[in-house]
C-alpha cells in the first residue's frame, strides 16, 4: 500500500504582525513550521501503514529549497521517503497551479492508494488544494475527515459536518483532508531524528514532471493578488474596572438592548 501525505511549510501565524505604518508584514524572527493540520495527516498516514502491516508513506511538498526542513521533520516521525517539488517555475502558484504541480508529482510516483492532506494551511486558509489535486488525478475525495478505517481496498470515512458527521464508504485510490479530531500526532524519536538528518530527499523540478510550463507558477494561476492591507482595528471599547457589584450592573445596562435586539 502506498500512502502519500502532502504537506506545506508555513510561517507560524501566531508570530506574524503587520506594521501599521508601512503596511507590510513584520517577518523578522518568524519561524517556519509544518502546517499544523498536516501533522494530523502525517500521523494518519503512519497509522494506516501500521494498520495495513505493510506499505510506504511518502511525504511530498512544493516550495523553495528551504522546505527541506519541513520534510526532514516528517521523516523524523517515521515517514519512508520525501519528495520536494522545487523550481523557480513554480513560483507564484495559486491553488490551481499548486494542485496541478502536486498532481503531476504524485503521477510521477506511480501507483498510489491513499493521499492525505491537512484540511487547510494556516497561512492561506483556502482548503482548496486537496480537492483540486483529487480532481486533477480523477480520484474521489472526502474533505474534513475526522475518522478513517481501512478495510482492504476501501476506506470508511467520517466527514465532519456542521451538525454531526457523514459516514462514507470510499474506494481507493482516494484523497482525504483531515481535521484535528482524527488523531493525536506522535513526537519524533531520537532515532527518527538521526535517520531524518541523513535521509536523501528527492527533488523534482519542472523538467522532471509531465507538465505544460504555461500551467505552472504565476502563469498557470487564474488568480492574482491585487493589494494587501492591514485589517481595520475595532474602535476601543469601554472597560469597567472595580468591584463586581459595580461592574456587572454597568455591563448589564449595556447588554440589555443588545439582547433585546434594540441595537443596530
Amino acid at each position: 500500500m502506498r500512502i502519500v501525505v502532502l504537506i506545506k511549510q508555513v510561517p507560524d501565524t501566531t508570530e506574524v504582525r503587520i506594521d501599521r505604518e508601512t503596511n507590510t508584514l513584520i517577518r523578522e524572527g518568524v519561524p517556519s513550521i509544518v502546517n499544523p493540520f498536516d501533522m494530523y495527516a502525517l500521523e494518519e498516514g503512519l497509522r494506516m501503514r501500521e494498520a495495513a502491516g505493510e506499505g510506504t508513506v511518502t511525504v511530498m511538498s512544493m516550495g523553495p529549497p528551504q522546505v527541506e526542513v519541513a520534510l526532514r521533520e516528517a521523516l523524523s516521525l517515521g515517514v519512508d521517503d520525501a519528495v520536494l517539488l522545487s523550481d523557480r517555475a513554480f513560483a507564484g502558484s495559486d491553488t490551481w497551479s499548486t494542485s496541478y504541480t502536486l498532481a503531476a508529482g504524485i503521477r510521477r510516483l506511480g501507483e498510489v492508494d491513499v493521499i492525505l492532506c491537512g484540511k487547510q494551511a494556516i497561512d492561506g486558509d483556502t482548503a482548496q488544494v486537496g480537492p483540486g489535486v483529487a480532481r486533477l488525478l480523477g480520484i474521489p475525495q472526502v474533505a474534513y475527515v475526522k475518522a478513517l478505517t481501512l478495510e482492504g481496498a476501501t476506506c470508511t470515512a467520517e466527514r465532519m459536518m456542521e451538525d454531526g458527521h457523514d459516514v462514507l464508504r470510499v474506494p481507493l485510490p482516494a484523497l482525504f483532508t483531515v481535521v484535528k479530531d482524527i488523531n493525536e500526532p506522535r513526537l519524533p524519536s531520537l532515532k527518527g531524528k538521526m535517520k531524518a538528518k541523513k535521509a536523501q530527499i528527492t527533488v523534482w523540478g519542472a523538467a522532471d514532471l509531465d507538465v505544460d510550463p504555461v500551467e505552472l507558477g504565476l502563469d498557470g494561476s487564474p488568480t492574482r493578488v491585487m493589494k494587501i492591507f492591514a485589517p481595520e482595528l475595532k474602535a476601543g471599547g469601554v472597560v469597567f474596572e472595580g468591584e463586581t457589584s459595580e461592574t456587572v450592573p454597568r455591563l448589564v445596562e449595556e447588554l440589555l438592548p443588545v439582547l433585546r435586539g434594540e441595537t443596530q
Binding site: 523553495p64 490551481w96 488544494v129 459516514v167 488568480t223 493578488v225 491585487m226 469601554v238 448589564v252 439582547l259
Partner: protein, 418 residues
C-alpha cells in the same frame, strides 16, 4: 485577445512586452540598496547582497516589491496568455446549499450580496439548486432575490457527495457561462467548489469578507483575510471565468423574503453519467451533544483557560442558558480536554459571527480573534487588564470570572424575565 490581455494587466505597472513565462528581475544600475523591497516582501524572498537586492527562489512574483521600490529597479514581466473570451460570460450565480430539505441561511445571504452585484453589473441573478425532491425550495430562492433558479432534482443528489455535485455544477457553468459564482464557505461548499473550480479551470477565492465590482469594469474584487487574520488581501481573477468565491456564514446580509417576487424555474437535464459517485453515502450521524451549532448562533458565551478546569464550565453553560446562547471555547480549553472540539472558536475551530460574543477567561490569542472578531458586540471578562481580548472588546470587565459570571447570570436571568 488584446482587449482581454490589457484587462489582465495587474494593478501595478509591468513590462508590457510579450512573454511566454513570467519573471522578475532587479535592475542593478538602479538599485540603491535601500531595502524597501525587503520589508515589502511578504514571503521573505529578498535579501541584500553587497548592497544590492537579490530575489530568491521563494519569490511568488506577487509584485509587492515592485510597488515598494522608489527607483523602478525591479521589473516584473508578466506573460500574457490568450484568455477565455470574457464577454461570453454574463450573470451572477449563487450555488444554494440544502441538506435534508432545508436551505442553509448562507444561501440567502449570498443572494442578498449577489442581487447587489447583479444590479451593479446590470445582469441577472440566478441560483443553482441540487438535491432530491427539492422543487418546492426554488420559490424561496426567488423570494430572496433570485431572477432564475436552475434546478437539478434527482435521487442521486439526495445526499451531498463530491463527485456528482461537482460534475453537475461544472456542467451547468459550462452550459450557461455565468461571470460570477458564489458559494457558502461551509463544509459542503469548501469541499465541493474547489473541485468545480479545477474542473472548469478558473480561479477561486476562499472565505471572502468583501465582494465588490471594480470601478467602470466587470471585474470582481474579492477581499479576504490571510495569515490568521493579520492581513487582508484583495484577489482578482483577470483572465478566467467564472470568478468564483466562497463566503462565510453571516458575513453578507440576506434580503427579507418577498413572496410577491416572481422568477423563472429551469429544470435542467443532466446526463446520468455525471450523477454517478464512487463514494457511497452510508449515513448521517447527528451530534447530540451539540444542541446549538455555534456557527449559527446569535449569542455565544465562550470559556477559556481562565476557568481553571472542566468543573467550572457550568458557569459558562449557566450564563448561556440565561440568555439563550450557545457555548463556545478557546483552543486552550479544548486542548486541555475540558470541552469538545465542536465548541472551539478560532482559526483551527469554527468561525462565528454572532450578534453578541462573551469571552470569559480568554486572553485573546490572534487565532482566537480570527474566529470571532466579526461579532457585532464583543464582551470580555478577564482578570488581566492587558489581555489582548480587551483590544477587540466592545465592553469589558476586568475581574475574576468566578465572581463576575454568577453575578452576570443572575442579573440577566432576572432581566430576561421582566
Amino acid at each position: 485577445m488584446t482587449c482581454s490581455a490589457s484587462r489582465a494587466a495587474g494593478p501595478r505597472s509591468t513590462d508590457s512586452g510579450e512573454y511566454r513565462v513570467s519573471s522578475i528581475e532587479v535592475v542593478q544600475d538602479r538599485c540603491v540598496g535601500c531595502g524597501l523591497c525587503v520589508s515589502a516582501c511578504l514571503y521573505d524572498a529578498i535579501e541584500m547582497v553587497d548592497g544590492l537586492a537579490v530575489i530568491n527562489d521563494n519569490c511568488t512574483l506577487c509584485g509587492a516589491c515592485v510597488d515598494a521600490c522608489k527607483f523602478d529597479a525591479i521589473v516584473l514581466r508578466q506573460a500574457q496568455h490568450d484568455a477565455v473570451s470574457l464577454d461570453e460570460y454574463r450573470g451572477v450565480w449563487v450555488v444554494a446549499e440544502q441538506r435534508n430539505g432545508e436551505l442553509n441561511d448562507v444561501s440567502f445571504e449570498l443572494l442578498g450580496k449577489g442581487r447587489e452585484l447583479a444590479d451593479e453589473l446590470e445582469t441577472e441573478l440566478s441560483a443553482v439548486l441540487l438535491g432530491s425532491s427539492i422543487a418546492g425550495m426554488a420559490d424561496e430562492l426567488i423570494h430572496r432575490g433570485a431572477d432564475r433558479v436552475h434546478v437539478v432534482d434527482d435521487p442521486a443528489l439526495l445526499n451531498f457527495l463530491d463527485e456528482p455535485y461537482a460534475n453537475v455544477v461544472a456542467e451547468l457553468i459550462t452550459r450557461h457561462k455565468p461571470e460570477i459564482v458564489l458559494t457558502g464557505a461551509t463544509v459542503l461548499g469548501r469541499s465541493l467548489i474547489p473541485r468545480v473550480a479545477v474542473q472548469v479551470k478558473t480561479g477561486l477565492t476562499a472565505d471572502c469578507t468583501g465582494l465588490a465590482i471594480e470601478d467602470g469594469g466587470r471585474q470582481l474584487l474579492q477581499t479576504r483575510p490571510a495569515f490568521g487574520g493579520n492581513i487582508m488581501a484583495t484577489i482578482i481573477c483577470p483572465n478566467h471565468r467564472p470568478q468564483m468565491s466562497t463566503v462565510r456564514h453571516k458575513v453578507m446580509s440576506a434580503l427579507d423574503a418577498d413572496t410577491s417576487r416572481t422568477g423563472e424555474v429551469v429544470d435542467e437535464t443532466i446526463d446520468p453519467g455525471l450523477l454517478t459517485s464512487r463514494v457511497e453515502f452510508v449515513e448521517f450521524v447527528k451530534d447530540l451533544t451539540q444542541t446549538v451549532n455555534i456557527a449559527d448562533a446569535d449569542v455565544i458565551v465562550s470559556g477559556g483557560r481562565g476557568l481553571g478546569g472542566p468543573e467550572n464550565f457550568h458557569l459558562i453553560e449557566e450564563l448561556a442558558g440565561a440568555i439563550g446562547g450557545a457555548v463556545g471555547a478557546s483552543r486552550a480549553a479544548v486542548d486541555a480536554g475540558w470541552i469538545q472540539y465542536s465548541h472551539q472558536v478560532g482559526q483551527t475551530g469554527k468561525t462565528v459571527q454572532p450578534k453578541l460574543y462573551i469571552a470569559c477567561g480568554i486572553s485573546g490569542a490572534v487565532q482566537h480573534l480570527a474566529g470571532m472578531q466579526s461579532a457585532k458586540v464583543i464582551v470580555a471578562i478577564n482578570k488581566d487588564p492587558d489581555a489582548p481580548i480587551f483590544k477587540v472588546a466592545t465592553f469589558g470587565i476586568v475581574g475574576d470570572v468566578f465572581e463576575v459570571l454568577p453575578a452576570l447570570t443572575r442579573a440577566l436571568k432576572g432581566s430576561a424575565a421582566e
